[in-house]
């Protein structure tokens, strides 16, 4: 399974625009890490974005995230943002960022 994370927008949107997505390949992970990632992916897939936290005006400079999961010839795309994110997506995002060699994402 390959899981990629692309970050969009934010104050540093110009930087994110040019950076390639972060990719985590389970081939390079331990068995425990692979199971952990699979569980987080499954939970995030089943969790729609949370209710919009803001209610007046609109978010500016908030970031959004596209997580693409490729597994056994199928792919799934999850997309959520700073102001509308499920706890499960938050957990997956945090895990991917922690396990990335690329700290700028």
């Amino acid at each position: 399974m390959k899981v990629s994370l692309a970050v969009h927008g934010g104050l540093a949107a110009a930087i994110h625009l040019r950076r390639p997505p972060l990719v985590v390949d389970t081939a390079a992970l331990s068995g425990n890490e692979t199971r952990e990632l699979a569980e987080l992916v499954a939970a995030a897939k089943d969790s729609p974005p949370g209710a919009e936290e803001r209610r007046q005006g609109a978010a500016r400079d908030a970031m959004s995230y596209t997580i693409t999961v490729e597994d056994g010839g199928t792919s799934a795309i999850l997309h959520q943002s700073d102001t509308r994110m499920s706890p499960e997506f938050t957990s997956l995002l945090g895990w991917l960022q922690q396990h990335s060699p690329d700290a700028a994402n």
Binding site: A12, A14, L17, R55, G57, R60, A62, T83, P87, A104
Partner: protein, 400 residues
């Protein structure tokens, strides 16, 4: 009435919100305390919304919450309020102080009472998430990350970033610039312009002395970047292997066409803002002195006169018209505005062709001076007539 009393938490939020309108200050204070406590305990974001809306005439009172590395703002805890003591946490105090400086700038320089011009409360959330590389305006309040410590550091360290985000709120309450394509780039540019001049105002810097950088403090020293953006030199804020080269254009010839999607930065709102950013910088340098004076007033009045769909050409034309209204037709200020837009590749619509080639502000001829004076007198006469009519109408109502 006892001080520091709390209204029972069983009181429904809508009733507490109503109590915020009470003429009794103690009742208002107790309702506010209860609302904030209830909000924190129950994590009800809706309660905070009612606080923000109902308690608007608050002279921009500040409240900072600590997310404690969580991402759910409703779970954040109160860290500092307007009348509270300074925190032991520098991020809390930096956000608090940045809010105060920005609030004071808008009041003293632009005669604006907080974000909505009606004293809207300023609320901020620090330590959002883990290694969160951003700060944003969520439509109601401001949120700061700590940075990852490798590329970015604590976003509360940058006054211009704080003023940038709060100005997004001001824009929402004025032009309502959209967040797509050119109007979105204007939205970003106005936030950069106000962010920069808030910093210049706080430092007492002239346009010539200012660095015109946005977010110089948010990068770690090791990263080798000047800032997120440079208004003086769009495209020159950074250039290294990790970040790449700053892609901002400084001229319409280099306008970057991007899709109006998240992936395309909503049509390049953080990219093409370099063009109006440069125009503001050139205007400030052309006029000279303090950028928060004539340039700041011209841009602010143009923001107020714009709409959600205004594009670069319309905004440029508006700044030219506002410069004439504020400082006179053919004034040095108006000519600096014209020259600035021309230098970024935008030809103003209302300027006679003969004047389009004028490079530097120059003293008007006797004829044009008389013409400008005549126009100003005509405008003033109209305003006096309107005022006289209003006074007569009021006197009639009072007499009746």
């Amino acid at each position: 009435m006892a001080k520091n009393r709390r209204l029972g938490c069983i009181t429904p939020p809508h009733l507490l919100a109503k109590l915020l309108e009470s003429s009794d200050e103690e009742v208002r204070r107790a309702a506010m305390s209860t609302l904030l406590d209830t909000s924190r305990l129950r994590g009800e974001r809706a309660v905070r919304a009612s606080v923000m809306r109902t308690a608007a005439p608050a002279q921009g009172r500040r409240t900072i919450f600590d997310c404690q590395n969580g991402t759910i703002l409703a779970a954040a805890v109160l860290a500092r309020s307007e009348d509270g003591d300074a925190s032991a946490d520098p991020s809390v105090n930096q956000a608090f102080d940045g809010f105060g400086t920005t609030r004071q700038f808008y009041l003293d320089v632009l005669n604006r009472n907080s974000i909505d011009d009606q004293g809207m409360r300023l609320q901020g959330y620090v330590h959002r998430g883990v290694r969160y590389n951003n700060a944003f305006w969520d439509g109601l309040e401001m949120v700061f990350g700590d940075g990852d410590g490798i590329v970015f550091t604590d976003f509360t360290r940058s006054l211009d970033v704080i003023a940038h985000e709060l100005t997004h709120g001001v824009t929402d309450f004025t032009s309502g610039f959209g967040y797509h394509n050119q109007s979105g780039a204007l939205n970003e540019s106005l936030s950069d312009a106000m962010g920069s001049i808030v910093k210049q105002w706080s430092l007492g810097q002239t346009a010539e002395d200012a660095d015109w950088l946005i977010g110089a403090e948010v990068f770690t020293p090791e990263i080798g970047a000047d800032a997120l953006r440079s208004m003086k030199a769009p495209g020159g804020a950074y250039d290294n292997e990790l970040l790449g080269k700053d892609p901002q254009p400084a001229h319409m010839d280099q306008f970057v066409v991007l899709p109006d999607t998240d992936e395309g930065d909503n049509g390049g709102v953080h990219i093409n803002s370099g063009i109006p950013n440069k125009a503001f910088y050139l205007t400030a340098i052309g006029i000279g002195g303090y950028a928060w004076e004539a340039p700041g007033h011209i841009w602010y009045e143009s923001l107020r006169a714009s709409s959600a769909t205004t594009v670069f050409q319309e905004f440029a034309d508006t700044t030219y018209a506002k410069a004439a209204e504020l400082y006179g037709a053919h004034s040095a200020e108006q000519q600096a505005v014209q020259a600035a837009w021309r230098d970024v590749g935008i030809t103003l619509s209302q300027v006679p062709a003969a004047d389009q080639s004028t490079c530097e502000p120059s003293a008007p001829t006797d004829g044009s001076s008389m013409e400008a004076l005549t126009r100003q007198i005509a405008v003033l006469s109209t305003q006096i007539e309107t005022l006289t009519s209003d006074i007569q109408a009021l006197a009639g109502r009072a007499g009746g």
